[in-house]
């Protein structure tokens, strides 16, 4: 699943480690999420959306 995590993180000048700690996940998970190689669970997607102050649809793009 494509997403704008990397862009949103860069806009805030956060490192992967910063984001990982804020979300309570590992840096490897952030890397996999940004690369679009791991789809987050619904609770994690909501957590990410809340952290960036955007809706899930604004961050994650569904690929049919």
């Amino acid at each position: 699943m494509k997403n704008r995590l990397k862009v949103l993180r860069a806009e805030r000048d956060w490192s992967q480690t910063d984001l990982a700690e804020a979300l309570g996940v590992s840096r490897q998970t952030i890397h996999a999420l940004e690369a679009g190689k791991y789809d987050p669970s619904l609770p994690l997607a909501f957590k990410i959306a809340r952290l960036f102050g955007q809706s899930i649809e604004q961050i994650f793009e569904d690929q049919p």
Partner: protein
């Protein structure tokens, strides 16, 4: 734009798992040494090793070992649950998929050999005779080999899961 992150530091839950495993291992080593030391001294004096005799030759010894095994298994399971709940969701997914796919594939891999050995056991019997193991030991080795095969498949699948998401 708010760039301040409110970071809640996570407790390293896997530490509980490591401490319990280390503690269990150390306790086992200490008890083993103590029993061996006691038996060694007794053997030197009377020619008998009472603890070894009790554990290997009596029903009570069997049940004692079984209960200790149950306790150690229970503590390991409990610490494993604590550890599993402490890791993040991607790590949990990696372990779940690794166990399912790794163990399933690994379980399938030795099937042709096992089938062959059941139908035509002379090769395996020859090995066990050359290794000088009893039937009981051979059965235990078979169970351990099955466990190791599953574990190997699990480890490989776990590595592949993360490698594909590097």
């Amino acid at each position: 734009m708010n760039n301040q992150l409110r970071v809640k530091k996570r407790q390293p839950a896997w530490m509980a798992f490591v401490w319990v495993l280390l503690g269990t291992f150390l306790l086992s080593v200490i008890l083993g040494f103590a029993a061996g030391f006691y038996d060694g001294r007794a053997d030197g004096q009377s020619g008998e090793a009472p603890i070894a005799h009790f554990v290997t030759q009596t029903d009570a010894g069997f049940w004692l070992v079984a209960v200790i095994g149950l306790l150690v298994g229970g503590v390991s399971l409990w610490s494993g649950i604590k550890w599993y709940r402490g890791i993040d969701e991607a790590a949990q997914r990696a372990h779940l998929e690794a166990w399912y796919w790794g163990a399933s594939i690994a379980m399938f891999m030795p099937m042709p050999f096992i089938t062959g050995w059941i139908v035509s056991p002379h090769m395996m019997v020859g090995w066990f005779e050359s290794w000088a193991v009893s039937n009981t030991q051979a059965a235990a080795l078979g169970a351990m080999a099955l466990y190791l095969v599953l574990l190997m498949g699990y480890c490989v699948a776990w590595g592949v899961w993360w490698w594909r998401r590097r």
